[in-house]
Point group: C2
Chain length 304, copies 2
């Protein structure tokens, strides 16, 4: 549906780096606090949903695997998108938590022998398995429906959110499924099969990152906008914004494992292109809020 190739003509140069230069130290610190506070709210919501209570054989692995998985910025983006279109963060909190759980489930399954034994750049080093593979497999299987349950049962009748919640369930299931995140994991598992030429490698990395982190964040942006009551145009703009920043996030993760300097340079070019495309999607929104949501790139997605 959304394709990064062929890329649209480059927009006038307006990188987030340029914006950052014009931001005071106070503004930078306030941006960082914004993401910290969103992530803390999601943590608190999930800790309440998955208490450490009996039976520990069920709750301990759910708790551990949810909170030990690397944190993705997608859930916080979902809330930020909701606030950008004028919604309240509580409207997006269950969807954000569902995204976090589904991402943790996918990460947990990636550590199983069936997927682990394949060489890929950017793997988290020294992943320590606290549980046997049967528990990790089943806990991952349990986290996905649990995330959906949190979301589907979150409706407050007074808010008349039924239709929005169903739309969001469709969005999330598509983004996580066989033509979204799972397809990205499949492509990623084919790494050993491609030849080593740099341009090919970079294209492969771009494709994996688009299907995995790209579409996850695209979904997060779209869901936040839907839940906050955004227009169709706003939903699509935030979907594209999410696609660009998510792909940046993916490249950021993988590029840590890339050794060739030329390849790193090509990836940096790609990141800069995506950064410009992302910022362009935010034109027309409330300027104060744009500064907040656009700060996700340097605060949460990108260390390159």
């Amino acid at each position: 549906m959304i394709s990064l190739t062929p890329p649209p003509p480059p927009p006038p140069f307006l990188s987030h780096r340029t914006m950052a230069i014009t931001m005071s130290n106070n503004q930078q610190s306030s941006s960082s606090n914004y993401w910290t506070s969103l992530n803390q709210e999601i943590d608190a919501h999930l800790k309440q949903a998955i208490p450490l209570r009996p039976p520990l054989s069920v709750y301990e692995p759910m708790h551990h695997l949810t909170f030990s998985a690397p944190r993705t910025p997608a859930p916080a983006l979902c809330i930020a998108a909701c606030e950008l279109v004028g919604g309240h963060r509580d409207q997006a909190l269950p969807a954000a938590s569902a995204l976090r759980l589904m991402h943790a489930a996918a990460f947990t399954h990636e550590q199983l022998p069936a997927l682990k034994d394949r060489p890929r750049p950017g793997r988290p080093p020294n992943y320590t398995h606290k549980f046997e593979p049967n528990i990790e497999l089943l806990t991952g299987d349990g986290l996905v429906p649990f995330g959906m349950e949190l979301l589907a049962s979150s409706d407050d009748p007074a808010q008349e959110m039924l239709d929005r919640i169903l739309r969001v369930i469709v969005e999330i299931t598509r983004a996580m499924g066989s033509q979204g995140f799972v397809e990205g994991q499949y492509k990623e598992s084919q790494y050993g099969g491609i030849d080593g030429e740099e341009a090919v490698q970079v294209a492969w990395i771009g494709e994996v990152c688009k299907k995995k982190e790209g579409e996850l964040h695209a979904c997060a942006g779209a869901c936040g906008a839907i839940l906050g009551g955004g227009s169709d145009e706003e939903v699509e703009k935030l979907r594209r914004y999410g696609l660009y920043v998510g792909t940046i996030r993916g490249i950021d993760i993988i590029s840590g494992g890339v050794e060739s300097k030329d390849e790193k340079l090509l990836l940096l070019e790609e990141v800069n292109k995506l950064r410009n495309l992302a910022v362009e999607e935010l034109r027309g929104f409330d300027q104060g809020k744009v500064e907040k949501i656009s700060s996700i790139i340097d605060n949460e997605c990108c260390n390159v």
Copy 2:
């Protein structure tokens, strides 16, 4: 929520076997045709949803693993429950298909090395893996959100089914999750750890079957009744009906792998008890339809 222990006092004897004796050959054949036609409709719906089209790397495993998994009677029960309370079968078809997909996903993951290498009675013999474990893991992961997507996107605005669909999503996610089917799989995987006394074995089998097939069919009965517009009382009766017939189905599968005669006898007693409890739940419904739905026991669940 629903517990089989302690069992309620035995109702007056009214076994389905007794009913079957009074049924003519024509009625028996019509019951069997009923389940065949429901299963064919679910098959057709799924074949349309998962066509064999490019990219084959995605659609071929989805197709194969969905249709090669042992068929569970739960999806057909979901439709039968919908019809019993006066609904149209089209209202339950997406939920029935979702149940089939989620069951296929769970079965696929059970064949992975992480769960496979554990001795358990009633395992399907000679399961042939057509794909590598990475594909089976990822395809299972893709089938679950795909089932949810089919269901969440099935709303026809004219029918105002939004609230029923969301209720059903909550029902299915609970039944498939860490306190339902997944918990049953966990208990099942602990088989090697229990001692061999017959009463203990039978209790263990009962517990596994209640959490796996029992709660899956309980969910199917409740979902069908919700979608067909049944009252709360009807939903709860069909939930219990599903729990009993599903547990019978589970025992039927496992008992094929039980060798001890005494153990087989204890299981048969349990099945007869459940059969009576199940039929009791159907009192008060339309008698013509009751004959149809109660025939699931001998047609689909039980060969003992």
